[in-house]
Subunit: 369 residues, 2 copies
């Protein structure tokens, strides 16, 4: 497959490092941790596309506190490709900023959007799908999103319902996206799964940068007007100040809510690779290798870290530290030991690690953030 226009990737890597506390920290967020393999997630994300999109065409959008740590993990990507937002304003401004940079390099460019910290189980199939999305985006005015075929009634993801068929790329069908749905409750998720025309919203997007710019201008005109003020300062000494001014004035809004859900112009490419947004410790139950009792530990964990003795213990997510971790009679728990902290909670409460962080902030224990 040949692409006439250059393809750029934008990796969104601004996450705050709370969901995998105490492993993840403010200065050591999820995307630079070796969560799904023995390499940092950002490295895996880059490596997954590097045969298709060279590092010089990969941009990373992140925060000031993370940029140096990120750069160390992917030194292949030029430092000037790491875009720093002065403050997080959710995904719409993040992609707006990236689009300005890409448009400046080539207004005909195709822009691929990837979260830095997702798990993809079949990298080859992923790449084939991504290439198909690029091919379709290139010859159309659609904002293309990858909709992952759901395999269970997951309540932690947003869903996209497909509409009419727009065409095919190779064997892969492309549909018009009919409706975006927020994270459903269990019974609704079951209904989505049963109906068969709903997909998981992967947060992976492909579009022509110009098409995206037009949609941005149409659906988020106020942010657009602020963002374009940055354009002429890019690469000049006043860029930083302009960025700070813009970001201080714009609202915080997601790309889904701000644009994708509002336009008719969204195409959904059916994606059949294993995918997981790795949104909490509990998610690792589906990603890390399991022992016969269903207890999971990181790849290579038995070699690298502390000993674990699990007796009558099943379906737990275990990240051990330097101490002997002895577990008796546990089920469906998360057990984490790091250098300075221990977390114990049931798997179904692992989202509530944020409550721990709130409490830590209240108490002013900054060393644990």
């Amino acid at each position: 497959m040949k692409t006439a226009a250059p393809v750029y990737a934008v990796i969104m890597a601004g996450g705050g490092g709370t969901r995998f506390w105490p492993w993840s920290r403010e200065k050591q967020p999820k995307q630079i941790l070796p969560i799904i393999s023995q390499r940092p997630m950002i490295f895996e994300t880059m490596a997954r596309i590097s045969s298709f999109i060279p590092p010089k065409n990969i941009l990373i959008v992140t925060s000031r506190v993370q940029v140096n740590a990120l750069h160390r993990q992917v030194p292949q990507i030029p430092r000037s490709n790491l875009l720093v937002e002065p403050v997080g304003r959710n995904t719409a401004p993040c992609l707006g900023l990236a689009a300005l940079h890409i448009e400046k390099r080539n207004p005909e460019a195709i822009m691929v959007v990837l979260p830095a910290d997702h798990f993809i189980g079949n990298p080859r199939r992923f790449l084939t799908t991504l290439k198909a999305a690029v091919a379709f985006a290139q010859k159309s005015d659609f904002l293309v999103t990858l909709g992952v075929t759901p395999t269970e009634p997951e309540t932690g993801y947003g869903y996209i319902q497909r509409g009419k068929t727009l065409g095919r790329v190779g064997k892969m069908p492309i549909f018009q996206a009919k409706a975006f749905r927020e994270k459903p409750n269990r019974s609704r998720a079951k209904m989505y799964l049963k109906k068969g025309d709903y997909y998981w919203n992967s947060g992976i997007f492909v579009w022509r940068v110009g098409v995206f710019g037009q949609a941005f201008q149409k659906y988020l005109p106020q942010i657009y007007q602020e963002m374009v003020k940055i354009r002429e300062t890019l690469g000049t000494p006043s860029e930083k100040k302009a960025l700070e001014g813009t970001y201080s004035r714009i609202q915080s809004i997601s790309i889904d809510y701000g644009i994708m859900e509002k336009t008719e112009n969204v195409a959904l490419l059916e994606a059949n690779f294993l995918w997981n947004d790795v949104g909490s410790w509990a998610a690792l139950a589906k990603i890390w290798p399991a022992d016969p009792s269903g207890n999971v530990r990181p790849q290579g964990d038995r070699q690298r870290r502390g000993n674990v003795l699990a007796i009558d213990t099943s379906n737990c997510v275990i990240y051990s530290g330097n101490k002997l971790l002895a577990l008796v009679g546990l089920k469906d728990m998360v057990l984490v030991e790091t250098k300075d902290a221990i977390l114990v909670c049931p798997k179904d409460r692992s989202q509530d690690v944020r409550l721990v962080l709130e409490e830590i902030k209240k108490k002013g224990w900054k060393q644990y953030l």
Copy 2:
């Protein structure tokens, strides 16, 4: 109250340090840990009786691996009062050995037997009760035991059923012991509680050393014959060798099973102090101070050790170490962190810490024993 004969106490301190693993270890057994207060349990046990029985009359029976550590905790007790068994053979030989020593010092002596590692909530009432038992033992040929009035259908203790009334010491009734019962199941324990004539077997005994010697000779003649061989060697260079010979030949048997359950000659003094044998981590739920959610931590723990954040967490037993311990959504769990190990288990599995130790032995991880 005046006692004509001298009173000696024997503190049994041979426990192997498994129930409070990973806090307790082979060389740091329960009895030298500050479990129920900020002082070692052996110290509390000595201090509780020291106004009544001076340290020079307190003997401790222990094992070679523990004797030095014990001596450091109670230096008030002369080193020569620490009797070392070459190997543990349960409580009957332990008390036989102590009786030999006491008899040698004074054949008219009263012998008080105390476990080193129990919790007693009302030390004054305990002492009053103990003095009454001594007074009764002195003028009778009974083996006196303290029967604790049960307050709940505890399944972790042995029970003693009282028989006819033998008399009173002050206001305290003394009964003939009718039957010893092993740890009951729940419904049987409830029945015991309801019937009102059952008591918890405290393992606290009082008798004239001569009366005990006669019972020993009658019910455990083989062990008796072996034990008396030690008698003439006491205080001589051949004592150690004689002890080793005797202990290599005698059977392992408890005082309850070997003597108390077999003789008619047992008196039960009703004891109304708070008592707990502190047999597992779960027992601390009734001893350590609780926060409003029912989570317990050691006395002074908040000052001494690591931080704990307990969110939606109730009725847990928490012994924190040097790391921040973050708990979310837990109920009725035991959470322990020490220098080199972490234990997590439900309270009702805390007896099964022994399974962890078995596993550690199998794996040859001696540093954790």
